[in-house]
Structures are given as structure tokens and as C-alpha cells.
Symmetry: C2
Subunit: 457 residues, 2 copies
Amino acid sequence: MKNKEIPYKIYLDESELPKAWYNLRADMKKKPAPLLNPATHEPMTAKELEGVFCEELVQQELDCDTRFFEIPKEVRDFYKMYRPAPLVRAYCLEEKLGTPAKIYYKFEGNNTSGSHKLNSAIAQAYYAKKQGLKGVTTETGAGQWGTALSMACAYLGLDCKVYMVKCSYEQKPFRREVMRTYGASVTPSPSNETEVGRKILAEHPGTTGSLGCAISEAVEKAVTSDGYRYVLGSVLSQVLLHQSVIGLEAKTALDKYGVKPDIIIGCAGGGSNLGGLIAPFMGEKLRGEADYRFIAVEPASCPSLTRGVYAYDFCDTGMVCPLAKMYTLGCDFIPSANHAGGLRYHGMSSVLSELYDQGLMEARSVKQTEVFEAAEYFARIEGILPAPESSHAIRAAIDEAVKCRETGEEKTILFGLTGTGYFDMVAYEKFHDGKMDDYIPTDEELAVYRAKLPKIE
Amino acid sequence: MKNKEIPYKIYLDESELPKAWYNLRADMKKKPAPLLNPATHEPMTAKELEGVFCEELVQQELDCDTRFFEIPKEVRDFYKMYRPAPLVRAYCLEEKLGTPAKIYYKFEGNNTSGSHKLNSAIAQAYYAKKQGLKGVTTETGAGQWGTALSMACAYLGLDCKVYMVKCSYEQKPFRREVMRTYGASVTPSPSNETEVGRKILAEHPGTTGSLGCAISEAVEKAVTSDGYRYVLGSVLSQVLLHQSVIGLEAKTALDKYGVKPDIIIGCAGGGSNLGGLIAPFMGEKLRGEADYRFIAVEPASCPSLTRGVYAYDFCDTGMVCPLAKMYTLGCDFIPSANHAGGLRYHGMSSVLSELYDQGLMEARSVKQTEVFEAAEYFARIEGILPAPESSHAIRAAIDEAVKCRETGEEKTILFGLTGTGYFDMVAYEKFHDGKMDDYIPTDEELAVYRAKLPKIE
């Protein structure tokens, strides 16, 4: 019945590891809107950005024309420790669902950071090292990005300073301990270490923090410390560039077996995984060489694409970062405390926002308990305990496969399994104990944050 | 300098997955001593064992002559979800150590159980299913075996009842939660559910349990429940048989590149990983076809090979199991509460005990803090956060590689990296905080337990 010639797991050879990252923006006719200086509302110059980011990363951030960026040898060598990542044919899941659909997933969880975040962490750490910096600062929410950056910095001998959203810091002591194992210093945010942190603490005593706030602290720390720059694990175009390695490998693996996906699904928080996974496929679509359906899956509790507006907004709560045009809920929006896992950023990558606005990509939101139901179902059948973030994509993939069962269509579905849930057992426990709810922000709530969006032009 | 033609990771093709397990006992001239009936001191018959274990597993347990057992198709299909496991060339570690040694490790941690335990769990669950049983019972200490068995049972639709050593149950709530995700029921041991549990609780109120005690409870539960059998994750010859898949894959991968290891190192608790890793290499040694050095590495806090005696002993605290001849510390021995991770069994696989007694294998013990130093060093260089158990082998591998640096010898070292440490962050935290000690039992203490060994002939 099934074409058993396709193995359960397709591992590319090391020699097939991509030699260059693919810059999707080069194939976009209408480019994403530029970052703006929050004071002048003029496009940010390289010089301005270089106070915050490493020089070569600034070049990558601003370049909408160069199609490929060579992956430095040092980064490729690091990649070889955990890449190529497997492309898995979900035979067991297909059989259990009784669907004629063919399901594939690109599994990025086989490394200690537990996710795809390492792909960009090592790149960003490499450029910081190359520039002769002492270290980097960053923020982390669920902790995957902070872990990934700690690993990359340990490998290169860079100092790593992580501001961890306070509620995660307290709820995920083991994530913290992994970062410590890799020599990083981890500070709960908001903290008293920065001016913006002190200001937020004064205005909101007892706050458990947010990603936007931790970003502000990390940026301030970078620009006020000698020999430090700030790095970010999602949202930015440079991150999507590095993450294109996911899609490039997936496409090479599928091409080897003559398989063309009909639907490509990824979870979407800031967009790092989704942007990386779809990049080469979307490139073909933009060039008119092939067509695919792309589905971004976001949490119903933080629905930037499905319920946000496409507008210029601050990337952080402290408003120290450049303005980015994106689908956003407003930079003060914080998802319900009951929301488990990542995907809690108020905005969305400018690249993906623009593609979505052009109608080249679909988006849907899913409720938390539906996500965990899919996660547990998947774990029992495919053996891998997925991260809550990744499980958003699993939910949508299962839903699409069930539709195929009903229509009899033999569609090929590809989704991104971004990581593992080993550090998310508190959330799983809540789910098992029936203590997880599906809080969804009301229109009135969203309107409050929307009203505070900066007025640009 | 380094032969870069060998990739960082050697992944065999699915078609190269072993089709049969290798039974090392077939090549042993002097066979391991048989299991004895504790009442009669006569060798256990198949019929007697079948009250406790599944029928086909009893055959495997008793068979010292059949060289290969075919791996059932269903088990091979399950293996394909996470196997072949990579053989990794530790280029980064070699470079950092500045050693001329070539270091390889077989990494068994890329699955949700986090260890090699899944290799035998699926085999044992399969035979239980085939026999038409309702479910299986088992014990777990560090939790890897319990997780693996839960996964296998979820996949096959078998009930799974796990007795978890109480201190682990309390210290590792996330392990418990993973098992629950896979539908297993988990009971802290000793419990009031069994006669032996009640007896132990009465004699030792407030005890935090031991592996030997949890085994007794699981066995009692199996033999007193309709449609249940007991399964065990280590020590037994059947387990070593299933785990031979580790060594067979490693050997195939090395042979492909014409590499012959000089030294093969594995951590040793009950012996499941070590026995599996060395099997095909030891087979060559026994048949006079090749020579290798084998090193078993055990914790100094539970030194069954290096400080135990080779004698018949009970496998469990409750003395409900058959007697096995093995290197043992005495069935009442419990390692210090300060001992982190697994490798806490009082005895050692009969097969490995016999090989060690014949001088075919070396053994050494290492202190806990030395193990965690090696673990953290390895994590920062090779990217993988190792389990404390696996880190015993890392310690010895590093020590051997450093010797090579001193002597200039270009030895090839192979070690087993059995699993990941994601659920061991409490132990890592202790280590970071300087709260880990190196308690080693005194000769006087060991003599007390030794005096209680059963007198057989």
C-alpha cells in the first residue's frame, strides 16, 4: 500500500549539508518594509544598527537582494555535530489516522537545545566571535533559544548573558540549569540590572515579565557594555536566513525521492522555524516554478497573524528597538499566564507578515488543549515527545490528514517538528490533570493594545 | 591531520539495520552460570520461569547456544523510528584534548526515553503482546527504563505498570509525567500494593526504596495478576541479547570505514548497555579473530565488579526472584543517597560477570564528581548533555585519550554514550553548587552485606 521504498527517516549525507543560506527576500517582488528608527521614523542605517548587532549580521539583516549567503566553514563544522536533521516519514501516524495522506516532518529536536534554535545561535555567535567581541546578550522565554545560544557560546568561548522571562525562570529551573552547564549567566527579567528593567518593575510591581521586556533589557545591556552585542532568536530577517537550512535540507531530501509536498505547515511565534522551513518552497512559488499551500499555525492565545493588524510597531516593551512593520497585537500584549510554552511574541517576522499580507500564505490559530491532545497522540504513535510549540503544527497536520481521509485525497503534507518537550512536563502535567484552559483574548482586550500602536505616517 | 573523510556522524541506512540479535553466550566456551531456583538451588526450568517471564523471552534467557535470534519485523519497524543510531566521531573532543587518539561514540540518546533502554523494551513488550497478555510490570530507578517501556507499551496497546524507586519518584516528577504521557501507571516503591512492599515498609519505615525492592514488588504484581508478566531492563541475558543491536550497528559502521577500535568502554550498572555494545567485538575475541581491550566503568559508590564477589545472590531485595551467579555487593546493598543517576544495582549481568572473571574484560570505578566534570566538559565541546550514567564512560574515554596524548599512541577508542541528561538537572545543579560528594562505601560496610550472601554449595 504505502511506498515502503521511502525510509522512515531520510538522513542526508554530511556532504549534502547546504553550503549557503537562502535569502527568501531576494525573490520577493514586494520586499518586507524596512526597520525604522523610532525617533526619526527613517529607515535604520547599517551604522545605526551596528551599535546593537554584529556588523556582518547587520549586512544580512538589510540585504534584500543577495540570494545566497555562504555558510562559514566554522558554522558548517558545528552544524555537523547535529545536522543534517532527519526528515521523517510518519508511517505510523498515517496508519493510525487511516488517511491516504502522506505525512512528513522535519525533526529539529535531536540536539541538546531541543529545537531548531541552534541553527541561528551558532551563526550569530560565530559573527560575534569573528568581530572580536567578548560576548553577547539575549532574552529567552520558553528557554530553547537561551539554551541554544549558551551552547554556541560555550563552543566558541564567548560570554553569554541571558535575560529569562521571570515566570519561565521560576517554572523552568532545569532549563536554567542547562544554560548554566554551558556556562551562561541567566537573570530573571525584569531585573534591577538595567534601567528599563527598573522602570518596568516600578510601574508593574510583581510582574512576571514578558518577552518584549526581556528584549529591552538585553538590548540595553549590550549597548551599555563594552565588547557586547545583542542577538535575537526569531523575528529578524537574519534569523530566517539562517533557519533556511531547515527548508533546504527538507527540500533536498524530498527531491531525492521525487516527493513534492502539497501543504507545508509550521508553528509560528516570531516566525523563525516557519520562515526557515518554507523558504526554498516559497522561493519556487514566488518565481512561478511550483505551487504549494503554506499554513502558519499560531496559538489562539497569542494570535498575531489571525487577529493582529499589519502595522509598524515596537519589537520590545521598552521601545528601545527599531520599529518593524509586522502583524502585531501591540508591543504591550502579553498572552495569558495559562498559555504554556513559547509562541508568545506579540508580533511576527516582517518577511512572513509581508507574504501573509500578499495572500501567499494562510494562517490559523489553535486552542491550547487541542494542541496538547495532538501532542500526546503523536507521542504515543511516533515515539517523540514534542514541544508544545511544535505541537501546533502537529495539530494542523493531523487536521489536514483527517480531511484527506474524508475526501480520499492523497495529499502530501510536510510539517516542521521544531523540538522536544522534555522541559515542558509541567505543562503536560497540567494537561493530564485537566487544569489547562483555553483562554482567548476578547476583541475588547485586543483593541486596547491596538490603540497604543505608534502612528507612522 | 585528522582523516576528515570519516564524517562527524555515521548513519547507517535503514537497510543496514541488524536483522538478528547476536547471542554472545554462543561463543563463550565457559557459559555463564545458570539461574537457580531459590528453594531447591536447582537450575530454573523454562516452566518455572514462564510464571514470571513471557515464553519466548524465557527461551532467549535459557539459550546459550543459538548464535543469532531473528529480530521480529514488528520490532524492526519500531526500531526504524529511532534507529540506526549514529556513530559519532568526536573530532571536537579530540582537538580540545590535543590527543592523537581517535574517539568514537555510539549515541543511543536520540529517542524520547533518552537512552538505549528502548531497544529491549520494545522487544519484551512485543513478545508479551504476541503471547496475548494484557500488560507487563516492571521497576525503574533513574526512570529511563520505565519511560522506554511506557513508550513500547503505548505503541503496542499494552498496559504498563511501573514501580518507581520512591526517592526517584519524588526527585524526578518529570520522568513520572513522561511515563504518564505514554499511558503508564507509576507507583512509588515500596508501596502498600504488594505483600513484599508492605513487609519492607514495616521493617524499614520511611525508606526511600531501592531497585532491588521495586523489582520484588513488580514481580509479585506480575505473578499475582491475571494476564501479566514481569519485564526487566538490565542484568538478564535476554536484555543483553536485545542490546546487541548497539554493538552490531557500531561494528557495521566502523567496518564500513575500515576502523578497528583498540579500546571499547561502557558504563556498567546491570550491564545492559555494556553487554550490548561489546557483544560482536567480544565474539571476535572469543573466537580468536581479533583482540580488543574492554573496560567496564562503574560508580565508586556501587562497585559490584571492582569490589564485589563472584557468587550466587538474589536479584532482588524481597528474594522472590531466581538466584543468579554474578559479581555482587549483596542484595541488600543500596548506594548512598548522594549517588546521582542510575548504575545503582547491587549485582552485574551473569554474562559480563563470567567474562570479567575469565579476565576477558577490565573494570574500573570512578568517583561521582569526576564523572560530572567529564559530563560538563563533554557537553560544552560535543554539544550533547550526557546522562550521569553515560558520563562514567566519558570519564574513562577522556582518561584513556589523555594517556595517548602522553604516550603519543594513536589509539582508537569507542565508547557507549547511552543517553541524555535532560531529566538529571537536579544532579547537575548539585554539582554546580558544590553540593555533590564522593561517598565511597568502606570495606567494613561491604563486609556486612557480603556476610549475608546465600550459601550455595
